[in-house]
Amino acid sequence: MTTTEHPTTTAAASTPGAAPGSGGAREGVVQVRDLRMSYGGATVLHGIDLEIHRGEIFALLGPNGAGKTTTVEILEGFRQRSAGEVRVLGTDPARGDDAWRGRVGLVLQYWRDHRRWQVAELLAHFATYYPHPRDPSELLALVGLTKQAGRQVGQLSGGQRRRLDVALAIVGRPEILFLDEPTTGFDPEARRDFHDLVERLARDEGVTILLTTHDLAEAERLADRIAMLVNGRIRICGTPAELARRAAAQAEVRWTAPDGTARQERTADPSQLVWELHQETGGPIADLEVRRPTLEDTYLHMVHQDDGHGDGGIAGDGTGAGAGAGSGADAPEGKERAA
């Protein structure tokens, strides 16, 4: 898979108020090229390309088993990749030293550590590892845990615990923050509080954020840009508005053929298709339906389609060249560009 000049790259550079001090040039905080990952014989990442800019919230969206966590762990320096080029803050995460670690913050899904420590005590302790830490009590206020400062960490609710994890992750003033499925298992209120916090961090603090989620609504709500990762491939990437536009660019036309079979086709020009159908059938088209798919339709479609191959999160074929997903995904590219 070659790196194609993608229309979304430039359009995405429109995050207002971000990139303090970086002047006009956008710096790639995360740069990933042709990242591949295999375990044993199974390939979980088939050549991923990513570029995340300073100050943006970037969502890696995909179903369970798509390779999100694997990707993030490679970026965090916790996992060795099989192939490809990866730079986070200009450094290969596999060789990240302490100075690099100090510029990266991360929040994992299931941290249950330090349960005996008091909230304020733990945060103050972790501040001592960094050269220019934030003020712990200000940070507690920022994540809304001032009232819980004296509590034991083990007594916090799930949402409070995750906000403490965020506080711990940003106490050293990192330039980038990785959030892996941060709101899994949250009730709606905890989720909303968490979303507000993430937005505040990006907007007020200028922290670049990469979050993974399987929830499209969450990605749309938070992200400046979304990359959809399905079965180890990034299938589409852009701002939520762009994605919605591109999803709708291909209208879905359904009708019933004269022999009684239900038919459907996707096209950028439904009017033309319907006109041709008229010509072919020479009369009214039975059960004609023209529909512009939403982003959600597109997402579910991609997820569902890959499920259809019956191989869950791991594709058996390393190259993907022969797989339906690979060829099916590449073929319509020209058509889409034309649209």
């Binding site: 100075a99 298992g185 991609m302 389609q305």
Partner: protein, 331 residues
Amino acid sequence: MRGTEMTPAPEATAATDTGTATGTATATATAEGIDAEGAAPGKAAAGSRRRSWRSGLLRGRIELRHLLRNPKEMSGHVINVVVALLLASYLHGKVPGTHVPMAHLTLAGFSAYLLFQIGLVNLPQILVTEREEGTLLRLRATPGGIPAYLIAKSLLVVAMAFGTLVLLLGAAALLVDGPLPHGPDGWLTLLWVSALGLLAVVPLGAAIGAVLPNPREALALIMLPTMALLFTSGAMFPLGSLPSLVQKIASVFPLRWMAQGLRSALLPDAARAAEVAGSWELPKVALILGAWAVAGFLLAIPLLRRAARRESGSRLSERHRKAGLSGSQGA
């Protein structure tokens, strides 16, 4: 015929919409982000070393405070001491061939055993638990976190060992007329045997903690051999009363030599008549404990490194999932 048949073959229409498999093209050059941090690497490294020492010592102090305030864990340590005292108060008679009370031999042996236990039972348990909860991973994600962790744990282990010895020997001396070192030589021997004994078992314990699967299994796996050694190493009764094969096997492990070294510190010199060799064999004690320390370090360093490297978010969630399935742990 136009279009695709809808029902049976969804793949046929697949990905006609948005399906470019390419993500964002990387147009910018990669060689930008070298910035201020790289300006004075030597100075920055020295600063971070100092920071991780300070953080480690601080961490050790906080962990110690948590230990002291945790009634459940403290009672575990105190019970050991109480058992030793009860045992000593019930034991009568002399060590065969000497005028030394049997209780003194047992108390010296128990002191050695408690040090042994701190290194090979308590420490691995702490390590496995903290590995499983994600403490190790969080510190790995923190600059200087792993060195600070090791410093804190060393501090904690030394404090636990010191506290246990003081408690056991102090209480024994006050309550059951227990043994105390005779003169400066005796204190010095107590100090170096304890220190070298800890050095022999702590790295080994760290290595065990790095490989054991989970806290519950860990306890079961370590307790049995440890208890077996307690009864075969001459800690509870004279080694000479055991079959020679048992003596030989027990002599491979550090506990025998720790107990012998502590007896030399705590019992009068005449008591060496009851030793297998008829003497304290202090050079041999030093040699064998030193060898265990070296072997332990050689084993522990790669194993700990591997354990830290293998930890990741997905391993944490995997364990979380398993714990959830067995229904024991809430989020």
